[in-house]
Assembly symmetry: C2
Homo-oligomer: 304 residues x 2
């Protein structure tokens, strides 16, 4: 075997789980876990748009999986497996692929994922990647964006804005601690938190806190009020932190009185109350003195 | 709403089925049909690799779905829904997207598909598309490539090589009837054939007949013998026809004595016996006088 099939056999077949049938067939066959619903999501990563050409291919692979894992986490789903597409320039050294596959293998082990299938192509542009993640959730327990009620509190996991500050430093715009740079290269998706029955709505913060909390507000028909000073994270420009994206934390709507249950569900993952949901519409960010702030951009939009 | 979210709401949300949750969430939620296994496949289409920039966007959309439907057909699976990724240059006119979505809608209706989710991005290269198709099959009834036995016959649906001859004409290399050109633009995936219990192995012919039958031979540990004169299709260069790709027909291994059942299962879709499987390995193509033929290329490989 040579060319495409040799590469699949050499690099990808060792990653395949039972559903992948050794990557020897036209499609994967998955016996759905009994008594579970399936949760499905797909994200792309494109060279020059979502990662830089010089980035470590292993980190690109892991970020590709983790961006999707973060979407599963936002739905309260446990990951099961994935399908992968790669479009690689013919001039790309094989070492890039070898290192990319190392990253996949590392995060497959870490998150209990198996490769189920995929598609390889040559590319006449840059590197283009996508992963379709499959997870499971108990019936009716998937977290949605539209479940918040007026009076619910807004909470976030971890810290917000670190990745955006890290990316600025990588692009030569200012300095940032190595931990922030690392954060922009390799997110920590919040899978495994038992939020069903605690959060009324959830989203993963991938396009900027203000915009993503705005999705909960819009889908729930409410106004979100964020207290800027309450948002946990590194020191840095507030607009960058609150609109910069790539956090891969969860923003949650939580009915009042559930703080203890929420903290217990999140275990070692810190959670911070940053605001509340009220009658109205949109997102308001309040300064420390309670004045609504204005930002020039709400967050990352791929088309704007 | 503007930009990315406006486009999703305007163009894609109307295509979404129940599992897609109005495309308002981080992921789709699918209650698997009881008593079925899921079949999952993904294929990409890249501008300049899999389609030409001038191609009708509606045909690009439909070919994207149909290439994946053909993979489901090869597994004997019934289609259910799909996830979509689009990476579009910022300079692409919105009319391209509008027409692309028309094509999706047309084939969704034709094949009973629903959009479940997706990801939109800008592209700094050409247009990049992928679709992840989800289908279902009765437990244990998925057709595989590795089930053939020595003595099985090789059958193909429809005609082989028409699309390759049509593509040559589109590229200005010779002439071809309009029907062949149309065939290269819009395949007819062979979904819905009740082949379980009849075919011992199956594959869809997407990369060229010789290469794809070779996959059945390799996975089943056998030699495939194809009689060139028996392969149905339009007049044209034999090597182009047998190695050219884009047929999206099915090649089947069928134990002897099942012709009547096979024809009944295929209904209006013609099937033709083109060879057999024997002890040995590889693929042999025999000329009309029974002499093994040699081709310079076995078929399409994206990496070679």
């Amino acid at each position: 075997m040579s060319g495409e099939f040799g590469r699949i056999a050499r690099y990808f077949a060792p990653l395949a789980g039972a559903a992948g049938l050794g990557l020897a067939d036209d499609a994967a066959v998955l016996a759905p876990p009994p008594g579970r619903e399936l949760v499905l999501t797909v994200d792309q990563m494109l060279e020059g748009v979502h990662f830089l050409s010089a980035d470590d291919p292993a980190l690109v692979a892991r970020k590709l999986l983790r961006r999707n894992l973060s979407d599963l986490a936002a739905m309260g789903a446990a990951p099961l497996g994935y399908l992968l597409t790669t479009a690689l320039p013919r001039t790309l050294p094989e070492s890039w692929l070898a290192r990319f596959v190392e990253g996949l293998a590392e995060d497959q082990a870490l998150y209990g994922l198996a490769l189920m299938g995929g598609d390889s192509s040559s590319s006449i542009g840059g590197i283009a990647l996508s992963a379709t993640l499959i997870g499971t959730v108990l019936p009716g327990q998937a977290l949605r964006r539209n479940g918040a009620r007026a009076g619910d509190e807004i909470w976030v996991t971890g810290t917000i804005g670190d990745a955006a500050l890290g990316l600025q430093a990588r692009l030569g715009q200012g300095e940032a601690a190595p931990a922030l740079v690392a954060r922009s290269l390799l997110p920590q998706p919040r899978v495994g938190l038992a939020l069903a029955g605690i959060a009324s709505a959830a989203i993963d913060v991938s396009d900027g806190l203000v915009q993503d909390v705005g999705h909960i507000a819009r889908e729930s028909g409410l106004l979100a009020v964020i207290e800027a000073a309450a948002v946990p994270g590194a020191e840095g420009d507030l607009e960058t932190r609150l609109t910069g994206g790539d956090d891969y934390e969860l923003a949650l709507a939580v009915p009042p009185g559930r703080e203890t249950a929420l903290r217990a569900a999140c275990g070692a993952v810190t959670v911070t109350r940053i605001g509340c949901l009220r009658q109205g519409e949109g997102v308001q960010v309040l300064s420390e003195s309670g004045v609504p702030m204005r930002f020039t951009s709400l967050g990352w939009q791929h088309f704007s």
